[in-house]
Each structure stands twice: as C-alpha cells, then as structure tokens.
C-alpha cells in the first residue's frame, strides 16, 4: 500500500513537471515579449533590456525553466544589488501586472474558490442524488419524466446564462440579494451566505442535473442485477434491500466522478467567479489571460493540474476501500 501511494505520488510529480515544461514553453516562448508589455509606450531599447535582465528573460530557455522549477522548490532571487528581491519557496514569481507575489495571490484567493466549490458540491450532491434515486425507484412515473426532463434542460443551460439571469432577477429586479462580495464568514455570516448563494446555485445546477441522471441510471442498473433478486428471495425488508444491496453498488461510481469534478472546481470556477466578481482562482485565471500576465497564468495552470491529478489519486485510494474487488498490489 505504502509503495503504491509512493508510486502514484511520484507519477503525480512527473506529470506536474511535464505540465510545467509545456506551459512554460507556450507562454514564455510563443506569446508576446513581456518586457515590451511592462515597459509600455514610451520605451527605450535600454529599458527593455534592463527589464529582460531583471526578469531573467535574457537567459537561455532551459536556464529560465530551471530557475522557475528551482524557485518552486527552493525559492529564488530576482534582480541584483540593492534591487534584489528574495522570493521564498514555493516561489511562483511576481505578477507582471500588479508586482504581487503569485504565491500570495493564490493563498488569498484559494479560500474563495474553495468556498464556492464546497458549497456547490454539497448542494448538487444532495439534490442530484435525491432526485436521481426518486426517479429510479419510481421509474417511468410522472415524477421521473418531469425530473429527468428538467435535468436535461438544466444540464444544457450555460453557466453564464444562468448566472446573469439569476443576478438580474434576484439582485436587480427583486432586490432580495445584495451584489456578491467576498466577505469572510467571520465578518458578516449573513452577507457571506447571501454573497455565495448565487454562485453555489449556478454551479450546482449543471452538476445536480448530471448527477441526477447518473444516479438514476446507476440505480436502475443495480436494481436489475441478479444479486437484487437474491436479496428479495431472502425475505429482507425493502428498506434493507435498497439501502444495503442497491445503494452501495449504485453510488460507488459516483464517487469517482465527484472526485474529478470537485478537484477541477478547486482550480477555479472561471465563468461563475467572473460573472459574480468573486476574487477566486477562476477570476484570477480569467484576468491573467486577458492581460497576458504570464507568471499568474503559469501558476493557475499548475494549480488546476495539481488538483485534478491529486483528485485522481485520492479517488483511486478511496476506491480500494469502497469496492472490495479493487485491491492495490
């Protein structure tokens, strides 16, 4: 088991390294010269050279990449002499746009994205699984057809349409919610809740619809299994038959998908955060791309990749506990 985990973690590090190399290649080699962008309109060649030197852009590509990677692990220094700035590990560099430490930016914004992701996940798991279960048990009924019709519709609505509609109706027209702002829970719990409510609803809608359909399909599939017939032939109560024999096989695959979806969300809900002006990782990604802020783009990409891969490892490990047929060796 320990060897398996170590192997998976080594794989994770290797993949992250690959992502790092490719992202670096794309954004530092193929996009416009950041020194020119920083320098602005009234720029002299001397000034550009100076900026390039201070950013380390004058060095060969591999040296730059090495500096970046070693900065991640051990920290690095920028500039020289009196202008020397030490960036402690894990160093992701400084934003071209705001000169802030990218590591600090992530530390500040991750709680916002995490709050959005956790709240939405709780909502969509409860609603999605409950609706799916009910549909499966009452397969073909009025409820089933209505719920599945709505789920198909709900899963088809783009997030930005839903977000803007909700915002227009609830904030502008009915004025029952304030415009979202990322206040910490400790400061004003009510405002905190009101602010996050719409992002939660928007994100949860699509997922809840998908999960409802998935749960329904899995449960119906499980109910048709031979072991369900055995359970009934044993004279077990319908409640026990359902709870023990149907739910566990039916819901185990959902754990896999949830792990992936949730991990991906931790890397930022780009559209939802942008529409509601929440300063999370998603908005940071959108802003950095719009302004070609390469260190931030790098950091956001790496972070998202890390979450997805870590989510994968966690799900695989969980699976060995959830499904007795799966054993690591």
């Amino acid at each position: 088991m320990a060897r398996y985990v170590a192997g998976r973690l080594a794989g994770l590090v290797f993949l992250l390294l690959l992502v790092c190399v490719f992202t670096y290649l794309i954004f530092f080699k193929l996009s416009p010269d950041p020194a020119l962008m920083i320098c602005g309109k009234t720029c002299t060649p001397d000034r550009v050279a100076q900026i390039r030197a201070s950013l380390g852009l004058d060095k060969p590509f591999l040296t730059q990449l090495w500096d970046y990677l070693s900065g991640l692990v051990a920290g690095r220094d920028y500039g020289s002499g009196p202008n020397l700035v030490h960036c402690p590990a894990p160093c992701l560099g400084y934003s071209f746009q705001s000169s802030q430490s990218v590591t600090q930016m992530i530390v500040d914004r991750l709680p916002v994205s995490a709050t959005v992701a956790v709240g939405a996940a709780v909502l969509w798991l409860i609603v999605g699984i409950a609706a799916g279960l009910l549909s499966a048990v009452k397969e073909g009924s009025w409820w089933d057809r209505t719920a599945m019709g709505l789920a198909l519709g709900g899963a088809s609505i783009p997030n930005y349409v839903l977000a803007l509609t909700l915002q227009y109706v609830l904030v502008v027209k009915l004025q029952i919610l304030p415009f979202p702002s990322a206040v910490p829970f400790s400061e004003d719990p009510l405002l905190w809740f009101q602010s996050y409510l719409m992002p939660w609803l928007v994100l949860a809608t699509g997922y809840a619809c998908l999960y409802a359909r998935l749960t329904r399909a899995n449960v119906i599939d499980t109910l048709a299994q031979n072991f369900m017939r055995t359970a009934r032939s044993k004279g077990l109560s319908p409640a026990l038959t359902m709870r023990r024999h149907a739910l566990r096989p039916a819901l185990t695959p959902i754990v896999t998908i949830f792990g992936m979806d949730f991990a991906a969300l931790l890397g930022g809900a780009l559209i939802t955060e942008t529409v509601f002006g929440l300063n999370g990782i998603g908005k940071m990604a959108a802003d950095s791309i719009a302004k070609n802020d390469q260190p931030v783009i790098m950091a956001v990409t790496l972070l998202a990749a890390f979450f997805v891969m870590a989510g994968n490892v966690v799900v695989d490990l969980l699976y060995t506990g959830l499904d007795p047929r799966v054993r690591v060796s």
Partner: protein, 266 residues
C-alpha cells in the same frame, strides 16, 4: 406422503404491447417433503417463471391465476409483506450464476447472516455462529476465516456452496434450485448435486429442481414436469417419463442428449 407444495392450474400472464401473453399456462404439480421434483424445458419454456411465481418474485406487471399452496396455505394474492416471511423462512431459492447472484460488495458471512437475522431474533454473535455452521455443512474449508471473504474470492463451485448454505440457513421446508449447476463444469456439477442430495436426506427439505439438462434430472428427481412454451407437456414419475415418454417434445429432449457412443459427424 403429505404434500408440501401444491401448484394447481398456475397461469402467469405478462402484458405486452401486442396484448397479454401467457408465459405459464395451466401448470399443476406437487412436491412432497423430502422429495425432488424436476422441471425441465428449453429456455423460455416458463420453468423459471413457474419457480419465481412460487417465491412471489415475478417481475412487476405479471398477473397470476390458479393456486399455489405451501403447507396448505395459499400463497397467490398474499401481500408482499407476508410473502417476505415466507421467502427464506419457508421457501428459499438458489440461482444459476452464483457470482452475479451474490452481492460483490459484502462478505459472504454478512450475506448469510443478514438472511438469518431477517427471520430469527438473535444477537450478531449467535448469527455468526450459525453462519460458520452453515458454511461447514456445505463443505467450505476454514469456515470461520472464509466467512470474511468476498464472493469474488471463491471458486465457482464454492460460490454455489455458499448460496446453498445461505438458502438453507433458516431450514426452509422448500428449496427451489433454478439451474444451480448450469454455470459449473461437470465435476463440480456432480459435487453440488451430491451435496444437495445429501443435505436433503439430512433435512427432509422438499426440492424443486429447474434445469434444461435431462441427465441431471434423472440423477436427482423422483418426479418430472416437462414444459414447452409455457405449457405442461408431461408430468409424472421420473423413471416412467424417461423410459416411455408419451409426448413428442419429451422424446425430442431425450434424443438431444449427446451420448458418448454417438457417431461423430464432422
């Protein structure tokens, strides 16, 4: 011999888009205590539906007519709540494919235990003791340890032994075996048949043995019911049916058994 199970004019009907279809038509047979009755027929002949009807486990939508009496008590038309007490306690069933018939997520010990505890008030400790006993009875080695195994950790024959242990854990009066040896290879098949026959001698359980394999039937059943397309084409003493089949279909079934001295046509 007092009759344990009496089935009279059983008809099972399914609604289809082209109107109702009788999958079982006017089937009648009886099973005595300590007796084995074979139901034979090809796939789709209605033999499995007949046994599911006895258990009250027909798929939703199916309607039944006629009478099924177990120990003199009518089973047809009883609410599911009451049928639940019959299932497992008075009549239990084993199925064709033991791997898919056991839940892969739980240990075999738990799956036997839950059945026992559904019908008997007892502590978990007491139930565990019964489980080990049941596994010993069907010849599972190291029953204490193997009770903690999952179905996929057993061989096919052992899984069917586990199913038999489970079916018999509440000492039911009737055991319905629906093609219990079809998925097993021939030597294991013989072992399972021997086990069933031995257990029957010990417990006096009446048995309905459903199969398409006449060779198996002739070795275990005292009476045979031959079914074809939902209808009962022949019913009687096993030896008599095999020695002098009265119906063409039975003759055809008998002739279709491959024999070791058959000429091989390539």
């Amino acid at each position: 011999m007092s009759e344990l199970l009496v089935v009279e004019d059983l008809t099972v009907t399914f609604p289809t888009t082209r109107g109702p279809v009788d999958v079982v038509k006017d089937v009648s047979f009886t099973v005595g205590r300590n007796e084995t009755v074979g139901i034979v027929g090809e796939s789709g002949s209605g033999k499995s539906m007949t046994s599911l009807a006895v258990m009250g486990l027909l798929p939703p939508g199916a309607t039944t007519r006629g009478s099924i009496r177990l120990d003199g008590v009518e089973l047809l038309g009883r609410p599911d709540r009451e049928m639940r007490r019959v299932r497992g306690e008075q009549a239990s069933m084993i199925f064709q494919d033991p791997l898919s018939s056991l839940n892969p997520y739980y240990t075999v010990g738990l799956q036997i235990e839950e059945m026992y505890r559904a019908h008997r008030r007892c502590s978990r400790k007491e139930a565990r003791r019964v489980v080990v006993e049941a596994l010993t009875q069907v010849g599972i080695p190291e029953p204490e340890r193997r009770a903690g195994y999952y179905p996929h950790q057993f061989s096919g024959g052992q899984r069917q032994r586990v199913m038999i242990a489970m079916a018999l854990v509440c000492s039911p009066a009737l055991l319905i075996a629906d093609e219990p040896t079809t998925a097993l290879d021939v030597t294991v098949q013989a072992q399972i048949l021997g086990l069933l026959a031995g257990l029957q001698r010990e417990t006096g359980t009446g048995m309905v043995f459903v199969t398409h394999d006449l060779a198996v039937i002739s070795s275990i059943a005292t009476r045979v019911l031959v079914m074809c397309r939902g209808e009962q084409v022949e019913y009687g003493d096993a030896e008599q049916v095999f020695a002098a089949p009265r119906h063409d279909y039975t003759r055809m079934l008998l002739e279709s058994i491959p024999r070791i001295d058959d000429e091989v046509v390539l």
